[in-house]
């Protein structure tokens, strides 16, 4: 067998010496079989794009607060109401102290979300904040004399509780004014609760469940506090008695919109603008460019003649619109997704972002609002591919506000470590400002396409 192996090795060696592939061999072989070595790229613009519909989507679903920031106040016409679910029993020190004092005052303590306020990118001139804030406190109380009451509360699923907040009817309510005063270095603030609530709690027999809502829809600011999964969780208790405090076992924010701007997106919410662009504004232009439709029917499907490598929609931008507000004064990233078919349904798929490094280094990213320039460019490659390759009736894209942008001329588009230090490109905390896209959606847009062709005549 050794001899056979040697023989074969010798044969391979001999063959390799006699024949060898030359550098152009593969290219020449491809050519003789009608295949190119590259795909031909064509770039062209389709102007005067106008959406046939623009829908503003507001997501007012209650959202559970765990490690997230816990908001109170208002920004850009959106108010954030706090909900807390608290429970305790008679044996607790709180109850004994409450019943032993006629002048007991209950309160909620909230810890400032210093991670944001101490952030070097938080605008220093925003502090100190002072405001006499009109606050409405409302509550629901459930008493029980059964030992298993608290256990039964633990079995209430978060999702059920969140659903109940949509139709939350309080047992009592009172307005109050809270003097908000916050400057750098402060750690917490206290919201005194109405005496009616305190009195109501004295009627407890064995155990109590207190659901508390605090809202300040006319506040001048949106205040951020630590959520539950932190060392700085909010708590309910008696003033001047730190012996027994009760953090809520769950908490939520519910958003209330008082904003009639139909094309405004609010940062940090889940707002979205859904733009529908009819296919007849796009497909005929591609067909005209190639003198044929990019698909050719074949078998049970089609053969691709051309396909979209990159699609970029450029729209007008007016950062000075009257409705616009910004908390941090930083550029804000605009993210975009497209509706695509998936498993017999339609899903929203966020678009990837290809970097035009030369332009970014010179003029910054072009998918930002609140920065230099008067246009906004969004890459919608996936959506265009879907439109072209499935011959859909319309292109539907969804636009949302993303994170504040710290380095608009950094072409990494991601936080990165350099020389041992983390280089933050995004701020990491949402700016809850508002941006009016009216000019963007009402002005003609321009669509730029990078197409690849796999046809002989374009090759």
């Amino acid at each position: 067998m050794k001899k056979l192996g040697l023989l074969f090795a010798f044969a391979v060696l001999m063959t390799s010496c006699i024949f060898d592939s030359d550098d152009a061999g593969v290219g020449s072989w491809l050519s003789s079989h009608g295949m190119p070595e590259n795909y031909k790229v064509h770039v062209f613009n389709i102007d005067n794009i106008k959406p046939s519909s623009v829908e503003l989507g507001l997501n007012t679903e209650p959202r559970l607060i765990d490690s997230m920031e816990f908001y109170l106040g208002q920004s850009g016409g959106v108010s954030y109401d706090m909900y807390m679910d608290i429970a305790f029993s008679e044996g607790d020190a709180f109850v004994k102290n409450l019943n032993s004092s006629d002048s007991a005052v209950t309160a909620v303590s909230l810890f400032w979300f210093w991670k944001l306020y101490n952030n070097k990118n938080f605008p220093a001139d925003s502090l100190p904040i002072k405001e006499s804030m009109n606050v409405n406190v409302s509550w629901k109380i459930d008493f029980s004399d059964k030992k298993k009451f608290l256990d039964s509360l633990a079995k209430v699923k978060d999702s059920v509780w969140l659903e109940s907040l949509k139709d939350w009817k309080p047992d009592g309510s009172a307005d109050t004014v809270v003097e908000m005063s916050f400057e750098k270095g402060d750690s917490s603030t206290v919201i005194y609760l109405p005496s009616a609530l305190t009195e109501a709690l004295k009627k407890m027999t064995y155990a109590v469940r207190l659901q508390l809502k605090i809202s300040a829809p006319k506040a001048e600011h949106l205040y951020r506090f630590f959520g539950l999964e932190s060392n700085y969780k909010p708590f309910f208790g008696l003033i001047a008695d730190s012996s027994a405090v009760h953090p809520p076992y769950r908490a939520a924010n519910v958003l209330e919109y008082d904003d009639d701007c139909g094309n405004c997106l609010h940062g940090g919410t889940r707002d979205s603008l859904v733009l529908s662009i009819p296919a007849e504004q796009i497909l005929p232009a591609i067909q005209n460019f190639y003198n044929s439709y990019p698909l050719e029917n074949k078998g049970e499907g089609y053969d691709v003649r051309q396909t979209v490598m990159l699609a970029q929609l450029t729209m007008a931008r007016d950062d000075g619109a009257a409705n616009n507000t910004s908390e941090f004064g930083l550029p804000i990233q605009v993210v975009v997704g497209s509706f695509v078919d998936s498993a017999d349904t339609e899903i929203r798929k966020m678009e990837s972002y290809r970097l035009n490094k030369d332009l970014i280094l010179e003029d910054g990213h072009q998918n930002l609002v609140y920065h230099d320039g008067d246009s906004l460019s969004l890459q919608i490659t996936g959506g265009l591919r879907e439109l072209v390759n499935k011959e859909k009736d319309s292109l539907r894209i969804v636009v949302k506000l993303g994170y504040p942008f710290l380095q608009e001329k950094d072409s990494t588009y991601a936080d990165y470590v350099s020389d041992g230090d983390t280089n933050y490109v995004f701020m990491g905390y949402f700016d809850h400002g508002r941006y009016d896209f009216s000019k963007a959606v009402e002005s003609p847009m321009s669509l730029k396409l990078w197409m690849s062709s796999k046809r002989k005549e374009e090759n």
């Binding site: 056979l4 023989l7 074969f8 044969a11 391979v12 063959t15 390799s16 006699i18 024949f19 060898d20 592939s21 030359d22 550098d23 152009a24 061999g25 593969v26 290219g27 020449s28 072989w29 491809l30 003789s32 079989h33 009608g34 295949m35 190119p36 070595e37 590259n38 795909y39 031909k40 790229v41 064509h42 770039v43 074949k298 078998g299 049970e300 499907g301 089609y302 053969d303 691709v304 396909t307 490598m309 990159l310 970029q312 078919d341 290809r354 970097l355 035009n356 490094k357 030369d358 332009l359 591919r385 390759n389 499935k390 990078w450 690849s452 796999k454 046809r455 002989k456 090759n459």
Partner: protein, 410 residues
């Protein structure tokens, strides 16, 4: 069946290196590619011995086998393609067939073969920053159950029949970088370093039928043996999914298509003549008249839609000096020595092949186990615009085990 498909999937990566007909069916592995037949120039389907084993062209021969034969074949092939001063060297390894047969005395003989009938294999990358990459992989496998029986009262004659159940898969991937020559410099960023793959993969089966069939008549004489066989025509169905890939996870929705390839009936005959004691000469012929062109797997860019066909014909001559069967004889005398040559018209129009080979059957131990080896070389000539000429060199090894299961001691 899934296990078999997985098994075939492993061996599908072991395929031949010829690039001729790669968009059609690929390279045909004639006669199951057995190393013993290859050593004598693919002649000798009529040759009768105690343990010749299964022939996919002549199922009747099996009736004369006296031993259980287990046979596994390996092939290594190097192809040097050239055209207009350009060269392309490729090589591949394959397992062209695996055969097992059981003689059952008066009840005839049964056998089964797993045959890689057609195969495609290529993986090449061009030079440069935006290098193109072309990959073909594919095998048309056939599972061939065979039955043969010596005719009562005419025991010099035998009849044999086999069914060929087709399965297998194939794929082609062409990966390209951008050509921005018609794009302004400021727009190059849009596709810079962005590769796309025109990808297609599919499966093989026979259209509307479970198998195609072969039948043969064999005569064994004292000096001369011959056979005639007829293999039915059939339509191969290649169900394909075309896909345009931007990355592994980002693709266009696949488009399905099925190409149908009408493979014509084949006639084959052969004669084996014993000159002197242990000296044999053999001549084999096979012929298949293609009357329809083959739709290609590709069909993009400027690729031809079809591969034109021609009558597929093969003539082979061979010689074998049978080794002495006595284990105590000198080892060199126990070896089977083989030589042969062939001419073959490919099914691809304007392509023909001339080749020669030498081989040997090396006995292992006393019980008849053998290692067959064959060295082959030759050239494939092409007047086609598409196909390149190829020089090839192949080395084949066949492992043959002999048993006497179920045979009465004599």
């Amino acid at each position: 069946m899934k296990k078999l498909a997985a098994f075939l999937g492993v061996f599908a990566s072991l395929s031949f290196g010829s690039m001729i007909g790669i968009d059609a069916l690929g390279e045909e592995q004639v006669l199951g590619g057995t190393a013993s037949a290859a050593g004598r120039g693919y002649a000798g389907n009529a040759k009768i011995g105690d343990s010749e084993g299964l022939s996919v062209v002549n199922p009747a021969r099996l009736a004369f086998d006296k031993n259980v034969v287990f046979n596994l074949n390996f092939a290594l092939e190097m192809d040097a393609a050239s055209k207009n001063g350009h060269h392309l060297l490729s090589n591949g390894m394959s397992i062209p067939s695996f055969n097992i047969s059981f003689p059952m005395g008066e009840f005839g003989a049964l056998g089964v073969s797993l045959w890689q009938h057609f195969s495609t294999s290529m993986s090449e990358k061009s030079s440069g920053d935006n290098a193109a990459k072309i990959e073909y992989k594919g095998s048309v496998y056939e599972l061939v159950p065979t039955y043969a029986l010596r005719i009562p009262y005419l025991r010099s004659f035998s009849l044999g029949a086999s069914a060929h159940v087709v399965l297998g898969s194939n794929s082609r991937s062409l990966t390209l970088g951008p050509d921005n020559s018609e794009v302004s410099d400021e727009d190059h960023w849009g596709t810079r370093s962005t590769k796309v793959s025109d990808f297609v993969d599919g499966t093989w089966e026979i259209n509307h039928h479970p198998a195609y069939y072969a039948a043969a008549l064999q005569y064994r004489g004292r000096q001369v043996s011959y056979f005639f066989s007829y293999t039915t025509g059939y339509t191969l169905k290649n169900s394909l999914d075309y896909d345009f890939r931007f990355s592994e996870t980002d693709t266009l929705a696949p488009s399905s298509y099925a190409r149908e390839i009408s493979v014509p009936a084949m006639f084959a005959t052969g004669v084996s003549y014993r000159l002197f004691k242990r000296h044999n000469v053999m001549l084999d012929l096979q012929w298949r008249a293609w009357d329809e062109d083959i739709e290609n797997i590709g069909g993009s860019w400027a690729m031809p839609e079809i591969t034109e066909t021609q009558s597929d014909f093969m003539a082979s001559v061979g010689y074998q000096l049978d080794g002495v069967p006595l284990f105590y004889e000198d080892y060199w005398k126990r070896i089977n020595y083989r030589a042969g040559a062939w001419y073959k018209n490919w099914y691809v129009k304007d392509v023909f092949e001339i080749g020669g080979s030498i081989g040997a059957g090396l006995p292992l131990g006393r019980k008849g186990a053998t290692i067959d080896i064959a060295l082959q070389g030759g050239k494939r000539f092409s007047d086609s615009k598409t196909e390149w000429e190829e020089s090839f060199f192949a080395f084949r090894i066949g492992l043959t085990g002999i048993g006497t299961w179920g045979q009465s001691r004599r």
